[in-house]
């Protein structure tokens, strides 16, 4: 199922560490969790990410492939969260490490993960 990319308004203070806590996520790559999340988008269609995201967007996705990381590189995303408990393989993680793309994984489904982040953002603005 393809979800259209939805991008939130600008965030003021959310970091990757906040995202990890809000989503009960494992950090699979990334040493610096103080990186600021400029916006959040949820999509399984990478062309939508390329068309609609802006620099510093955090991508929530259920799609697991090296192209997700390459999309993050190309579009200057601040990180990727794999939803629904999906675990990326070693090829994907080594690409993320080489290219310094933070990767998180949450057991939550896309809708709930996006909802929790949306609520946190709404409450903080």
């Amino acid at each position: 199922m393809m979800a259209r990319m939805a991008t939130t308004a600008n965030l003021h203070s959310m970091t990757l560490a906040d995202v990890r806590d809000l989503l009960g996520a494992d950090v699979l790559n990334g040493d610096d969790l103080s990186i600021k999340v400029e916006a959040v988008g949820a999509a399984d269609l990478l062309s939508d990410v390329l068309a609609l995201s802006k620099t510093g967007t955090l991508l929530l996705t259920g799609l697991v492939s090296p192209q997700v990381i390459r999309t993050a590189i190309v579009a200057d995303l601040c990180g990727v969260v794999f939803v629904r408990g999906k675990k990326p393989g070693p090829d994907i993680l080594s690409l993320a490490r080489e290219s310094k793309i933070p990767v998180l994984a949450t057991p939550l489904k896309m809708f709930e993960a996006a909802g929790r982040l949306y609520r946190a953002i709404s409450e903080s603005t």
Partner: protein, 139 residues
């Protein structure tokens, strides 16, 4: 000049990340780098998905970055149809990778200041994209 092989899905996108590194190293502004990288990535995915093989060439001058893509492949019978958002001939396998939803060529055009496409059925497709930049005054 970069070479791309059709159906080489595991490497799809590698050329574009390398193009992005090159542009960054040359001191091209981040906004232009991002636009060219998006153009290049969509073009590279099209090449991997549909063509047999192809070449991508990048050139950088003080006022523009240009990308030329030339492939050997089935070509596009109706280019104006292919330019419409959502029109696609992608297989389920391509869609599972997050591409092939009929957004590629429109995305390329959106990020280009100049855009030309020509295609011959049974031969291949050529793409020319120019993104203007102003390097004067940049460090």
């Amino acid at each position: 000049m970069y070479h791309v092989l059709g159906k080489d899905f595991s490497n799809a996108g590698k050329v574009s990340t390398s193009i992005k590194d090159t542009l960054k190293r040359l001191g091209v502004s981040p906004a232009v780098v991002r636009r060219v990288a998006i153009v290049s990535y969509e073009a590279e995915m099209n090449l991997v998905m549909y063509a047999t093989r192809g070449e991508m060439s990048l050139s950088v001058s003080s006022d523009a970055v240009t990308l030329k893509v030339d492939d050997e492949g089935p070509g596009i019978p109706d280019v104006s149809l292919a330019m419409q958002e959502g029109w696609s001939t992608a297989t389920p396998e391509m869609r599972e990778m997050g591409f092939g939803a009929g957004m590629g060529l429109p995305n390329i055009k959106r990020n280009a200041d100049e855009f030309e496409i020509s295609s011959e059925v049974g031969r291949g497709t050529r793409l020319f994209v120019r993104v203007t930049q102003n390097m004067q005054g940049s460090p």
